[in-house]
Symmetry: C2
Subunit: 365 residues, 2 copies
Amino acid sequence: MNLRTPGPIPVPQEVAEAGAAPMINHRGPEFAAILARCEEGLKEVYRTSNDVAILTASGTGGMESAVVSHVSPGERVLVVTIGVFGERFVDLIRTFGGDPVHLAFEYGTGADPNAIDEALAANDDIRTVFVTHNETSTGATNPLEEIASVVKGRDRLLIVDAISSLSSIPVETDAWGLDVVVSGSQKGWMLPPGLAFVSVSERAWEVQEQCTTPRAYLDLRRARRSAGNGQTPWTPAVSLFYQLDRALALLREEGVEQVWARHRATAARVRAGVQDLGLELFAEESVRSDTVTSILPPDGLQADELRKIAREEYDTVFAGGQGSMGGKIFRFGHLGYTTDEDVSGALGAIEGALARLGHAVPARG
Amino acid sequence: MNLRTPGPIPVPQEVAEAGAAPMINHRGPEFAAILARCEEGLKEVYRTSNDVAILTASGTGGMESAVVSHVSPGERVLVVTIGVFGERFVDLIRTFGGDPVHLAFEYGTGADPNAIDEALAANDDIRTVFVTHNETSTGATNPLEEIASVVKGRDRLLIVDAISSLSSIPVETDAWGLDVVVSGSQKGWMLPPGLAFVSVSERAWEVQEQCTTPRAYLDLRRARRSAGNGQTPWTPAVSLFYQLDRALALLREEGVEQVWARHRATAARVRAGVQDLGLELFAEESVRSDTVTSILPPDGLQADELRKIAREEYDTVFAGGQGSMGGKIFRFGHLGYTTDEDVSGALGAIEGALARLGHAVPARG
């Protein structure tokens, strides 16, 4: 199967097999060594000297840990959204009793840093800003460096969902002053799902000490305390740690900047190929993501019809639209372990599906 | 390595390898089929027709889901404890604003059903009872059927931590009227850690509708709604689902009652072997667990000295004591995929370590 969802993604064979190694005691020295290597590797990819907690949970668990650790009941926070995953922050904050001021930008666009600056100027009481870096639901990447500059200029805490960007798209945690950065294993990290990563700045640790929202399983402070003893607070997903250890070695061997360059090149090939097929991209040109491309079907065609044929006839799996985008777009993931053959095969699947659905494909130049 | 902790435990090779299969779309039909098979297999082992939710989390995440789903802020609940994991329920309930009435029995003993009955008679306002089935920290198994009979006789909701018992020791979820039963993948299920299972009775679903404690990632209602569509609410740990699918097939092939009988026989062999070495067992005879045996070192010897030699010289890993039991006992796990050779090897490691530490081992009859 050519799995072209924006996570889970194919896992390199050596990473897949690393997970089959014999189990060990998660309270013993072997696990402590793996945990230490994973933390060191994560810090390198995160470009940070902050602590990076590793949670046995999916990315949403990581997002929830960021919410319950930094937003006290009744507290107003700014949430900048450009799609479904930004809205998930809004929902989580509301669920746990926070008061989100929701600054929403149109799907397919990026956030405007000036508008964020104005919102912060108008809301002196807001201490914390939540933002999605790469919006997996629309295929748009926010101008995170500019957003961070504005938020830091206003001296607020910045919490970033970098689940589908980190390790694939440039993120400079320390240089940009990102206080809390969440990611998830099934993205550019080249692992199966099941681990979430959360980096925490000194300033964010201080906020956590004041935060009154109850938390236990997803309490980042407990993760930090246990990490000091080479452990996790609760039994970790040991096989996924084995895989993380291996995948981080691959990423570091290639070099973080080279990994970014590879994603840039792959994404450019995908976008050009899709446009050569006469299809339009959903996201605005200036914000198109290097990890996932959202594609509009031709007029009169349902995106899910095309996905169905790609799946059944070409063994190629694209993701559908989420929320209000359901049926309107399909999404082509090209993050992590994606080869040129994967890209060519997936473009061929789209071409074939279009032809079967009676949509002429323009002659290629 | 002979891993003799009470979880993680060794994973059968075919289960380990099942996790290395290619990734799939967790929103597609392949995953829906796996999820359905896993739910069906779990119900068979749980002996229930209740829903069984599968969470991407460790066992403690499953315990937290049971707490935040059934205990509203300020609500008094009864928590019956016989060790560290029962106390974890107390801590979780306090953390999330509940008011636990703590009925504690001595470490190494089981709970007295009559005392539970009296506590319930004296506390008409208490709707819900929490109890540990098998206390991993002491190696004691509670008389769950009798406890359930008392709790159901008083018409209360019963929430059970069966993390280290279910699939290894008899649990009759429906016949005994257990409302909520939590388990974890790294125990008798023969998987790596990373999945928690939670069965929920109709009555418990009704309580969840009334429960006002905020919850999202661990919200069992969301798991139920998504399961209706062949999905999980958040990205699941796909590779662990592959392994669960395979391990459940093994358990069902052997037969649940045969699996229980195997654990009974293995545990008897462990207990006899340890006593033949002149060592005393920590738990009272009537409650000794069929999944983990807690062992007192000879007078004048620290349990952790013995563990260190077993690890370094015999490549055999036992677990230490937890909490106030630290250094006082060591724990020998014999759940899940444990062979006769594993047991003999581990007994030999204890014997060798004792000899190296200058403790004469009695001649075996």
